[in-house]
């Protein structure tokens, strides 16, 4: 009697999951589109200051200016233009960090899981070492010592956030390695390279894609945190974290100054996480077989 119940539950989960997935995709693609072509649509320059027009409120408040739909910041720069430029920075950092950390983590994990033995011991040691390092502290220290900059933030986060990639890649590789089609490929005379690139990687890719979305969201949040602390992206580059940091002195009188970049950050991270959840539901472990 329990079997039909399970089926119904599964169906419900997928329906909810599908809605979330769709919402996530819409959010992420809108923000990505804004980051890519937004500056062409918004005439204002995110770097041009206009001290006579400081802290003009956004369109839903009194005293707004039509040429600044989201108002201006404390230096009179157009907030919408800065927000769009900030999306570009956030996505850039998210994607670059995921590429760097993904390369490191997936290589380590797949190699460890595939070859096992001593190799795996080394990989496990690296993972354990990495897990014992507090990310934010090290990121702060590195950025604090070596100065801030977009490249440095990406490099630091990329070198720190590979642990989940490695753990997942290692576990799934171990699982896939023993499956029949891998044995069949060996029996057909395949090389180790072929087995790794064509039999293992494509079949663990769905799991890695889920990790990638989570790591991307994490990297974006960490960049915002670092920028908020003044150790991330240097001004005048408009990072969302930096916008919150610059606006925090005015939050009691002009709350929208931190509300707008905060909401943007929240929406983007939510969207990415929804996409990740949706991916996980769509490409469950079933795909391994």
């Amino acid at each position: 009697m329990s079997a039909p119940l399970v089926v119904v539950q599964a169906a419900q989960t997928t329906r909810v999951g599908k809605t979330g997935f769709a919402v996530g995709i819409v959010i992420v693609s809108v923000i990505a589109a804004a980051a890519l072509i937004g500056n062409a649509l918004v005439p204002a320059d995110p770097f041009v200051q206009d001290l006579g027009n400081r802290l003009k409120p956004p369109f839903w408040m009194e005293g707004t200016q039509p040429e600044h739909p989201l108002g201006t910041d404390q230096l009179g720069r157009d907030y919408l233009a800065r927000l769009i430029y900030g999306a570009r920075i956030s996505l850039l950092i998210g994607i670059m960090t995921v590429i760097t950390s993904g390369l490191i983590g997936i290589t380590l994990g797949v190699v460890g899981g595939f070859f096992g033995g001593r190799v795996d011991d080394v990989v496990l040691f690296a993972i354990t070492t990495r897990l014992s390092i507090p990310v934010v502290l090290v990121a702060l220290a590195v950025v604090g010592l070596m100065g801030s900059g977009l490249g440095l933030v990406v490099a630091t986060l990329g070198l720190l956030l590979w642990d989940r990639f490695a753990v997942v890649a290692r576990a799934t590789t171990m699982q896939v390695r023993t499956l029949d089609y891998v044995s069949a490929a060996w029996c057909a005379g395949a090389s180790t390279r072929h087995i790794l690139m064509k039999e293992i990687l494509p079949n663990i890719a769905s799991h890695l894609a889920v990790v990638a979305t989570l790591e991307m969201a994490l990297a974006i949040l960490l960049e915002a945190a670092l920028s908020f602390l003044g150790l991330g992206v240097p001004p005048p580059l408009p990072s969302w974290g930096l916008m919150i940091a610059e606006g925090k002195d005015y939050m009691f009188f002009s709350a929208w100054v931190i509300f707008i970049p905060g909401a943007a950050l929240f929406t983007l991270v939510l969207g990415i996480n929804l996409v990740g959840d949706g991916l996980r539901n769509l490409l469950g472990t079933e795909r391994l077989r």
């Binding site: 089609y181 069949a184 395949a190 064509k198």
Partner: protein, 325 residues
């Protein structure tokens, strides 16, 4: 006839556990050789040892192991990889999981030919279509672009067989190729294997626990028990005059129409295949054998029961006759 695959005294160990203990096997050119035994007797491990694809921790050694005149024991890994899938290929028990879900059937089949023969992709795909037709897949052109999950179990096993034949191998190792399929598909696959054997001059090493299959397709049979080949015989002889008590036990477990009496239970062999500890001597079957006596604890000589028929048992045939109940 010359032996295509000649194995003498193969030993496979996993740490302290011996999976194969001195198995000898000869597969002649153009014959179907069946390797029979219960689960855990070392049949699949023997096949994997021949392929040099033992799982991690497995170690093989043998007095002789040659394939078409090539010594497999001293062959470097690179050269072995060149033989695998090319001159010697293998099909597996579980067709549902033996194909890579990430690629189309066509690209997986083509891959084998481009790898071993350096054929172009177009040539390889052409060969794939041809072989798919040969193994009885309808509309091979359409199947080529499909993914494994779009095919049924029987179709996937046919694809596996076609893939194994891509490079015109001399030896096809089939590890329980029909166990996971339903009976009608099973019959089709066996018929297919038999016709392919004739057509391609293939030798087949068929691993199975199904004596019905053995009776139907095998030319010769090797019965394995606990890592040893306990009896070797031409098929007809094995069924008409089985010598080893284990073989007899296996045969008595098979219900045959007309021979089974309803008031008598079907034959069975009590117990399961034992783990063989290191330093074990004597007959491994003695713990389950109804006829076991003291001398079974000592080294067992291989005895001949006619041309090309030998077995590992100390007991005289008359001692093995079923006692009148």
């Amino acid at each position: 006839m010359s032996a295509l695959l000649d194995i003498e005294d193969l030993e496979v160990t996993f740490g302290r556990t011996a999976a194969v203990r001195g198995a000898s096997l000869r597969v002649e050119t153009g014959e179907t050789h069946c390797l029979v035994g219960e689960s855990g007797c070392g049949k699949s491990v023997t096949a994997l040892a021949v392929m040099n694809l033992l799982a991690r921790g497995g170690h093989r050694s043998a007095k002789r192991m040659s394939f078409a005149g090539t010594d497999l024991l001293s062959l470097p890994d690179r050269d072995m990889a060149r033989i695998r899938g090319n001159r010697m290929s293998m099909i597996f028990q579980e067709p549902m999981t033996s194909l890579n879900p990430a690629f189309t059937v066509g690209s997986q089949m083509a891959e084998v030919l481009t790898r071993h023969k350096g054929a172009s992709r177009a040539e390889a795909l052409e060969r794939a279509v041809e072989l798919m037709g040969r193994v009885g897949i309808t509309a091979p052109d359409m199947r080529l672009g499909q993914f494994p999950h779009q095919l049924s179990g029987g179709l996937r096993q046919r694809v596996m067989i076609a893939m194994a034949l891509m490079c015109d191998p001399q030896l096809l190792v089939a590890d329980e190729p029909t166990t996971a399929l339903d009976v009608t598909v099973q019959a089709q696959i066996l018929r297919l294997l038999a016709s392919l054997k004739r057509e391609f001059g293939l030798s087949i090493l068929l691993i199975t626990h199904d004596l019905g299959i053995v009776a139907r397709v095998a030319d010769r049979v090797s019965v394995m028990y606990a890592g040893e080949v306990v009896e070797r015989a031409p098929t007809a002889q094995l069924f008409s005059a089985p010598q080893h008590p284990y073989t007899r036990g296996l045969l008595s477990c098979v219900p045959a129409p007309g021979k089974v009496r309803r008031d008598r239970p079907l034959g069975s062999i009590p117990g399961t295949v034992p783990m063989i500890p290191p330093g074990f001597a004597g007959c491994a079957f003695r713990s389950r054998c109804a006829h076991a006596i003291e001398i079974c604890e000592h080294e067992i000589p291989r005895k001949s029961a006619g041309a090309a028929h030998d077995y590992l048992c100390r007991l005289m045939p008359r001692e093995l006759e079923p006692q009148p109940a």
